[in-house]
């Protein structure tokens, strides 16, 4: 057979397999085939047959056990526990696994032990078609092009291409209603604090505890205390009173509000504060920062008590809360926005305004200013109004 195999050009006019990875030594030809014990020993053959059948029987047993476990073993949180595993999941998994695995092992064992194991040889053909096939195909294509007149009628061809290409535009245009753009929500403000530039914080809004929603007095915090806070509106209240129905945040707008307004409060020794801006916006050493990382938006929560550093658990950006939230380590590109704090007439902590700059990750249209410029811009339009809540330069 070897002479046939080495000259495929006989069958394939001129297109030959052309890898001539030459060997130095003569090809000794296929190894001799060795009979397996199951081929020559009827006892071994019978034993292999019994083995395979046993695997199939084991599978059937597992299948029955699977059905029994399904009926008898209770699942869920109050189901029984076996060896630390939830009994239902364990029983179903192990019996299903056994039912499948034993079939697999049995079939493979059958193939290995009892099916013919003589290696066969097949001729390989080149991937390419033969020259004549190629010529015929090219000729067919040519006459098809000819008959359609696509080459002779450039006006038809080009106007067709143009009109089909133009169809790409509606394909993109109809995506527009996938959602309002940032510009749309900024303009229409369909809910409080809509758009990347805003949050639901506003002047005089109480800073309340996350989860429970209780307002906070400066004296509630010891030096070193970190509190996860939210605007009171998240809990449907303003100055401790329930808000009107139309102001109430629910569903998606509530989630959007939470995703931008989350805030951390930290009380530190006022003398530890480095940045003047940070001091201006603090109350008795209490500072408030956006909890949303300026990197990709994870809520930041790991506080290093001794250093006033706040670490993001997602990508380890670290911010210095004593120094205007500037980045001291990690991949974040910008400082954490600070929320200006004041105190209302009932003695509770309130925001002096919304965040003076957009919170969260960067985006294309975002303009960026230094902390000092942010403060100057804020002071120009807010400082006077904020005095109502005790604002004065240098902190309260």
């Amino acid at each position: 057979m070897s002479s046939d195999l080495t000259s495929p050009e006989a069958a394939h006019d001129g297109h030959e397999l052309n890898a001539h990875t030459d060997a130095l030594l003569p090809n000794p030809g296929l190894e001799e085939h060795h009979w397996r014990p199951t081929d020559v020993d009827p006892k071994a053959e019978k034993r292999a047959e019994r083995q395979v059948a046993t695997f199939f029987a084991l599978s059937a047993i597992c299948t029955v056990l699977f059905v029994l476990s399904y009926i008898l073993v209770k699942g869920g949180p109050d189901g029984p526990v076996w060896l630390g595993w939830g009994a239902s999941n364990l029983a179903l998994g192990v019996t299903l696994g056994g039912a499948l695995l034993f079939i697999g092992i049995g079939v493979i064992q059958w193939a290995r032990k009892l099916m013919t194991d003589v290696e066969l040889v097949e001729v390989r053909h080149p991937a390419a078609s033969s020259e004549s096939d190629r010529a015929a195909t090219v000729a067919a294509l040519k006459s098809a092009l000819e008959e359609s007149g696509i080459g002779r009628r450039p006006l038809l061809r080009n106007s067709l291409i143009g009109s089909i290409a133009l169809l790409g535009v509606p394909a993109i245009v109809v995506l527009k209603d996938l959602g309002p753009t940032n510009h749309d929500v900024e303009q229409t403000q369909p809910y409080a604090g809509a758009g990347l530039e805003h949050t639901v914080w506003s002047r005089g809004m109480r800073v309340v505890r996350d989860v429970v929603g209780t307002p906070i007095r400066p004296s509630d915090l010891e030096i070193g205390d970190l509190v996860n806070a939210e605007p009171e509106l998240i809990f449907g209240k303003r100055d401790g009173e329930e808000v009107d129905e139309d102001e109430l945040l629910e569903g998606a707008p509530l989630q959007v509000a939470k995703s931008k307004a989350a805030t951390v409060l930290l009380r530190m020794d006022p003398d530890d504060i480095v940045s003047d801006v940070t001091r201006n916006w603090s109350v008795e050493g209490i500072v408030a920062y956006s909890k949303i990382c300026t990197h990709v938006g994870c809520p930041i929560s790991l506080n290093e008590r001794t250093t006033h550093h706040l670490l993001c658990p997602c990508h380890q950006s670290t911010f210095d809360l004593a120094d205007a939230g500037k980045v001291i380590f990690g991949p974040a590109g910008r400082h954490l926005p600070q929320l200006p704090l004041g105190v209302d007439e009932d003695g509770f902590l309130v925001a002096l305004s919304d965040y003076p700059e957009p919170v969260g990750p960067s985006y294309w249209e975002r303009n960026t200013y230094s902390v000092e410029d942010v403060f100057k811009g804020w002071a120009k339009s807010n400082a006077q109004a904020a005095e109502e809540y005790g604002y004065k330069e240098g902190g309260q």
Partner: protein, 578 residues
């Protein structure tokens, strides 16, 4: 060629098949063939030959994991509700009762606790997904290391690469669906990634989320992508991958009787069909056992997604670890021009870098054949050592991947090793650049050393471990020639660059072209197989040696005094005359 089946287990039948009276099965086959003409296809393919090697099974792991994913995935869709509508949980898991959550999360809890076998199927689905991607990656490595990506299989390599990236995206969209705290953190990161794209980022982000993050559209949209769009494309690509495999016929290792022009192995029916079927059940069985025994993604412990919360040690699934690591290592570079923001710190590591690396992987076969000039068809595999630069390139890429992947767990490494996370990150920033270069150099030299070793054994035989002392008192190890088959197998390889493909003519000024220079580097220091003269000379030398040692043949000084192969007592002593 005829097959001697005379001694094959008698259960297979001992007489050849012959036309006999029509049976019921035969009638059914005839009915089908008269309508579908299947016999022509069957004649060609039912006994198609597939070569056998354990490494050819790796792609099959991925294939069967995908089937397991389809089966378990359909099961999950019967109960999963892809909705972000909110409800107050009143289900059977007490710690979460009375808590606000999305319908998606509540239905994930329902599947885990109230649907019998639901938790099992969730875990089977998730484990199979990890196995699917791991299987594809290892299969990709096998293909590349053995040169199976060369002509005519470049397009199948491209299809395989597309399967890998689509599988990865499919995995991400899948683990984002339960809307638990961990998956929501992943979606939130994605929101940040999309926003970092220059110019269009904010638009794309708002369209994707249907407004501001998180909105109430992202889970249903990801669901459609996860259960319809990507699986459809995956199915089509897998079909194309398999069709091309059948058309090209599988590659085989060189060896006695195995040539470029043939394929040696077992026929599709019955051997391969049986082994593949058996292997499908094995893969499904293993994932079922894993689902039963190994807890994975316990969403009820994470709680529902709340945009104000996060858990420490938040990690994506393992195959998303490397872009996450790149994100962690990137310095916080951000530029501001004319009121716009360029987030290099996000855009480069998670959007540009994976895209560039993926494109490089996709183009590897074309880059290689451009360098080598190899335009021949290849059906015999190469050992990794016989393509040192190629092997080293992939090891360098693997090392780069490993460094990024480690960076994705820098917080866990810091905790386990009680080390500073800052220092680990700084070290990895350097290692991302340095380690691949070191790995490249070591691998390349290692391959060349192995090539030289092959040549040694070809020329001088293999080491027997027997030390002989000559009458003059010098010691030498006895070498024996390789068996004919092994020696032949070692010599099936190209000799040098010029045998592989043409080099460029020098440019008019006499300078070499860029390709020519790269090609020289590519083949530099390769150890070529010996020439015929060298081989003959070595054999002559060996005969001499054998002659010199012939005096010792059948003698006690054959080295067996030191092992337990003394045959008879009372033989002559080691020393002393005879």
């Amino acid at each position: 060629m005829s097959v001697d089946t005379s001694k094959v287990a008698s259960s297979n039948g001992t007489t050849a098949a012959s036309t006999s009276a029509p049976t019921k099965a035969g009638a059914a086959a005839a009915w089908a063939d008269e309508r579908l003409g299947l016999a022509a296809v069957g004649k060609k393919n039912l006994r198609k030959i597939f070569p056998d090697h354990w490494s050819f099974m790796l792609g099959e792991i991925a294939l069967w994991s995908f089937v397991v994913l389809l089966i378990s995935g359909v099961f999950l869709t019967l109960w999963f509700k892809p909705s972000m509508g909110e409800l107050t949980y009143q289900g059977s898991y007490p710690p979460l009762r009375g808590i606000q959550m999305s319908e998606a999360y509540a239905s994930a809890l329902h599947i885990s606790f109230d649907v019998r076998g639901g938790l099992l199927m969730r875990q089977v689905h998730h484990w199979a997904a990890m196995l699917f991607i791991a299987g594809m990656m290892v299969h990709l490595l096998r293909v590349f290391f053995t040169g199976a990506h060369r002509k005519p299989r470049e397009l199948n390599w491209v299809i395989g690469s597309l399967l890998l990236i689509l599988g990865t995206i499919e995995g991400f969209t899948g683990y984002s669906l339960p809307d638990d705290l961990l998956s929501g953190t992943g979606i939130r990161s994605m929101n940040g990634f999309v926003q970092s794209i220059p110019i269009v980022g904010t638009y794309v982000d708002f369209l994707l989320f249907g407004g501001e993050f998180p909105g109430d559209s992202i889970i249903p949209r990801l669901y459609t992508v996860h259960v319809l769009l990507i699986p459809g494309i995956l199915l089509a690509l897998i079909a194309a991958h398999m069709l091309l495999l059948v058309y090209h016929k599988h590659t085989q290792w060189p060896g006695p009787g195995r040539e470029e022009t043939n394929v040696v192995g077992y026929p599709m029916l019955p051997n391969y069909i049986s082994k593949m079927t058996g292997f499908f059940f094995t893969v499904f069985g293993v994932t079922a056992l894993m689902g039963g025994l190994l807890s994975l993604n316990p969403v009820w412990k994470f709680g529902p997604y709340d945009p104000t919360k996060v858990t420490a040690g938040s990690q994506p699934d393992w195959y998303m670890g490397w872009p996450d690591g790149a994100l962690r290592l990137m310095p916080g570079w951000e530029s501001h021009f004319w009121g716009s923001t360029w987030s290099w710190n996000i855009f480069l590591p998670v959007i540009v870098m994976p895209g560039v690396l993926f494109t490089i992987v996709l183009l590897l076969p074309f880059i290689e054949s451009w360098i080598t000039g190899d335009k021949r068809e290849h059906h015999l595999l190469q050992r990794p050592r016989n393509a040192p630069t190629r092997t080293a390139t992939m090891v360098a890429l693997m090392t780069l991947y490993a460094m990024f992947w480690m960076a994705g767990g820098n917080d866990l490494i810091a905790i386990k090793l009680h080390a500073s996370i800052n220092q680990i990150s700084y070290a990895l920033r350097a290692l991302v650049f340095v380690a691949p270069v070191i790995a490249f150099i070591i691998t390349r030299r290692w391959c060349i050393a192995l090539q030289r070793h092959d040549n040694e054994t070809l020329l001088h035989g293999y080491e027997t471990g027997i030390i002989l002392r000559s009458p003059e008192g010098s010691y030498a190890e006895k070498h024996l020639p390789l068996p004919e088959e092994s020696a032949f197998t070692l010599t099936v390889r190209d000799r040098g660059a010029d045998e592989v493909g043409p080099d460029d003519e020098p440019k008019p000024g006499g300078k070499k072209t860029l390709r020519s220079r790269i090609r020289t580097l590519y083949y530099e220091d390769d150890a070529q197989k010996p020439t015929l003269e060298e081989l003959e000379e070595a054999h002559e030398h060996a005969e001499h040696e054998a002659h010199a040692l012939a005096a010792l043949e059948g003698h006690q000084a054959d080295g067996h005094q030191f092992d337990d192969h003394y045959h008879e007592a009372g033989e002559e002593p080691l020393r002393g005359g005879h």
